[in-house]
């Protein structure tokens, strides 16, 4: 009977979703700027209302609960969730997912968005299940955590999907207005494979007993607990009934304008290493200091396509919208209508000051992005080491995290974007084992390498001070490549085993000796733009004059794309950009003479102007004199 009821409710919800997708119909709307008070009945994954007083009450389903009024499937096509969707536009390259494995020396950039330099998870043999397990800690749900039902059914881990359920979009990850929702707790539930239970537990509505990862493949989450087989118990919820009103409704404290702190769970970037200034002195984005939040600029509509803030000219698809152009650096600070600057009189969305840029030749705006001068730390001769939430698991409490943990993410790197403009970027050098077949390279997952290489791979061991294991030596690389080659030869797999690290591609030659190639495309570093922290005008490149950049040894040109100049593969910024080094030197030398030229130029122009004025005055006086003389005569 319960099943039938659930089916009826589900059909009703499906119908309402279809209607909700059509603008202006079927969607419960207040059309007020006052946030709607979400005092809600919770619904389980079958669409049945949850009674928290019942034993074995199921977890709530965001799809069924939030989706009752909001078009879940449409939202699931938004930026944070649409990565695996074929046809979803990838836009400007962003931070990739990084598959890290210290023991095998693996730092593999992954993305389903087709960004050059990344690998789609499925191409390296990483299933949706594996992706969700490894990286779901910072996945807001949906996407790889919630593949279509048919896909889950035929997946190699179909049984585990049945046990754990889908990792649905947890709306509260972003929209919780209070810290009651705990994304770190959610990450722990993902690790325990408690996908279905994660939103409920993270919201603090219940505590969970048990882990789905310990439940057998044939465990049925809908079946009542088997008292005779306690070992077969899966997760069970104990609801906090104080969170429910007498009608079993819960007050969700939600906001349409998520606080910055919610974004930080996935988007924190911290400086690490010896150059780090520490939290007390850490740079803070000038916009946040002025009272803005992330979502004041990175807005979205109901479709949840987040404005990424790089302007209309850079992105096709939705980002051509005028709203997107307006929510960029230029849009706020210059004011735009359809990408055309309006000028100082009407600029200044959010009170953004109109930039003066006095004495800065306009060519700089053609050749550089705003962020080149305004974002990230003030550049030094060497880049700095950073840790990111996605790459280093920031946001999860740990005593093990060290500044030197892989991957090595460095910034600022002054590279060129797709439009050829110089912009600050973050950089990571990929490291992975792979099979190279002609131009085609197929990375191997760390577990595959461990299995195939066997004893050739050194045992993973952390040093006493918690530092990650040292990088593999040439001898170790050669041994593993040899082992991979032997296994591969026996299996008849195509391609030569190779290892990529520090911008080099290692392989064994015909004699079995280790050789390495530089500049192989597969070994190229991956860059993504650095948009924050934005520095105010008074702390921007150029505030010290042209010599901030146009001087011998200026970081913009001569800085190293590494934390130390002597680091392996350390290249200088002009080399990374492919600039002509003679031209760079010539520019720097020319600007050394600029003050002298200015003085000389002003002197010459001044002398000639005086001569011109003097002659004009003389001519004028002569004319007057002649007129006076004519008058007298």
């Amino acid at each position: 009977m319960r099943r039938v009821g659930a089916l009826v409710v589900a059909l009703g919800l499906a119908a309402s979703e279809v209607a909700a997708d059509e603008s202006g119909s079927g969607l419960l709307e207040t059309d007020s700027r006052m946030p709607h008070v979400h005092r809600l009945t919770l619904y389980d994954h079958d669409g049945a209302a949850i009674d928290p007083t019942q034993d074995n009450a199921p977890p709530y389903s965001p799809r069924m609960t939030c989706g009752k009024c909001h078009p879940y499937d449409r939202i699931a096509g938004g930026w944070h969730f649409n990565e695996p969707r074929p046809g979803a536009h990838g836009g400007r390259p962003g931070e990739p997912w990084l598959l890290i494995d210290s023991a095998t020396g693996t730092v593999l950039p992954l993305s389903g968005r087709g960004w050059s330099g990344t690998f789609a998870p499925e191409t390296v043999g990483l299933s949706d299940w594996q992706f969700a397990l490894r990286l779901g800690r910072h996945l807001p749900g949906g996407g790889y955590g919630e593949p279509p039902e048919e896909r889950r059914r035929v997946a190699p881990e179909a049984a585990r999907w049945r046990v754990s359920g889908a990792l649905e979009i947890d709306c509260l990850v972003c929209h919780a207005a209070t810290p009651a929702h705990d994304p770190a707790e959610r990450a722990r539930q993902v690790e325990a494979q408690n996908f279905r239970w994660a939103p409920t537990v993270a919201a603090g509505l219940a505590v969970v007993r048990g882990e789905a990862r310990k439940a057998p493949d044939d465990w049925d989450p809908d079946a009542p607990p088997d008292l005779d087989r306690p070992d077969r118990r899966g997760p069970r919820l104990v609801y906090d009934r104080t969170k429910f009103d007498p009608d079993h409704r819960v007050l969700f404290d939600l906001t349409r304008r998520p606080p910055t702190e919610r974004c930080y769970f996935c988007h924190t970037v911290r400086e690490a290493g010896v150059a780090a200034a520490g939290e007390l002195l850490a740079l803070r984005d000038v916009h946040l200091a002025a009272g803005l939040t992330c979502t004041d600029c990175h807005r979205n509509g109901l479709d949840h396509h987040i404005v990424r803030g790089y302007g209309a000219a850079a992105a096709p698809e939705r980002e051509l919208l005028a709203a997107n152009a307006a929510l960029s650096c230029e849009g706020c600070h210059l004011g735009t209508v359809d990408g055309v600057p309006l000028g100082p009189g009407v600029a200044g969305t959010h009170g953004a000051p109109y930039p003066q840029h006095r004495g800065l030749p306009p060519v700089h705006f053609e050749k550089m992005t705003c962020t080149a001068c305004h974002s990230g730390p003030w550049p030094d001769l060497a880049a700095r080491r950073f840790q990111t939430a996605l790459a280093h698991g920031l946001g999860l409490a740990s005593r093990e995290r060290r500044d030197g943990d892989p991957p090595l993410v460095v910034a600022p790197i002054f590279g060129r974007n797709a439009q050829g403009r110089i912009e600050p970027q973050r950089m990571v050098r990929p490291a992975y084992w792979a099979r190279l077949d002609g131009d085609r390279i197929r990375p191997l997952l760390p577990e595959v390498v461990r299995k195939l290489a066997g004893p050739a791979l050194p045992r993973p061991a952390k040093s006493a001070d918690g530092l990650p294991p040292p990088p593999l030596t040439d001898a170790q690389i050669a041994a593993v490549l040899g082992a991979l080659g032997r296994v591969q030869g026996a299996a008849g797999a195509a391609g030569v085993p190779v290892y990529v690290r520090d911008g080099r591609l290692y392989r064994l030659n015909e004699d079995g000796a280790l050789t390495s190639t530089e500049d192989h495309p597969a070994a190229a570093a991956y860059f993504w733009p650095l948009g924050h922290e934005v520095r105010p005008a008074s702390q921007s490149l150029g505030i010290g004059g042209c010599n901030d950049c146009h001087a011998d040894g200026a970081p913009l040109f001569a800085g190293y794309a590494a934390t130390q100049p002597a680091a392996p593969g350390a290249a200088r910024m002009f080399e990374l950009r492919g600039d002509d080094p003679r031209l760079v030197d010539a520019w720097a030398a020319a600007f050394a003479w600029r003050p002298l030229f200015k003085a000389f130029g002003f002197a010459c122009a001044g002398i000639l102007t005086l001569a011109l004025l003097r002659s004009a005055l003389d001519g004028l006086l002569a004319m007057l004199r002649a007129r006076v003389l004519r008058g007298r005569s």
């Binding site: 000028g343 930039p355 003066q356 840029h357 006095r358 004495g359 800065l360 030749p361 306009p362 060519v363 705006f365 050749k367 002509d580 031209l583 010539a586 520019w587 020319a590 600029r594 030229f597 200015k598 000389f600 130029g601 002003f602 010459c604 122009a605 002398i607 000639l608 102007t609 001569a611 011109l612 002659s615 003389d618």
Partner: protein, 167 residues
């Protein structure tokens, strides 16, 4: 800026009467000294470099950037030095305090000086932290328009100078 015969021997210049600074008689040509030759050469090279690099896009030489822009900046030194020196060299004659310049050439001289100054000042001002990008763009347009005017003025100036040389 070459405003006089560069190689042909000339009759000795007539000495103007110091008490009559007014318009001198018919133009009198004289040869240029080695220093004057150098000054003219520097000015000509400066104008040539600036014209070719500055109007590169119109001449099909590509945008003003990279090496071309650097050459333009370096050529600016030559242009400023050569132009100023040449103008000062001919200033007495243009002012009528020395013979050797007819009214047409004198008119062209002052127009060329005005155009040259209109070329120089916008870019000199642009090097100061005074104007924003919009104003800088306007200054660059002025610089460009003045440069074009200067180049066009050079044509009648050359014709008149050559004609004066033949006479």
């Amino acid at each position: 800026m070459s405003d006089a015969p560069l190689s042909a021997p000339s009759p000795p210049p007539s000495r103007p009467d110091a008490s009559e600074p007014g318009p001198p008689g018919p133009p009198v040509h004289r040869g240029l000294s080695a220093v004057e030759h150098v000054v003219h050469a520097v000015a000509i090279v400066g104008v040539a470099i600036q014209s070719v690099t500055g109007f590169g896009p119109e001449l099909g030489l590509g945008a003003l950037e990279g090496w071309r822009l650097l050459l333009h900046l370096c050529g600016a030194g030559l242009f400023v030095a050569g132009f100023t020196a040449t103008m000062l060299l001919w200033l007495p004659r243009a002012r009528g305090t020395a013979p050797g310049m007819g009214s047409v050439r004198r008119t062209l001289y002052w127009l060329i000086m005005a155009a040259g100054l209109a070329v120089m000042w916008p870019m000199l001002l642009a090097m100061l932290p005074l104007a924003g990008p919009d104003t800088l763009a306007v200054l660059a347009e002025w610089h460009r328009a003045a440069a074009l005017t200067l180049v066009f003025l050079m044509v009648p100036h050359t014709v008149v100078s050559l004609a004066a040389r033949r006479s």
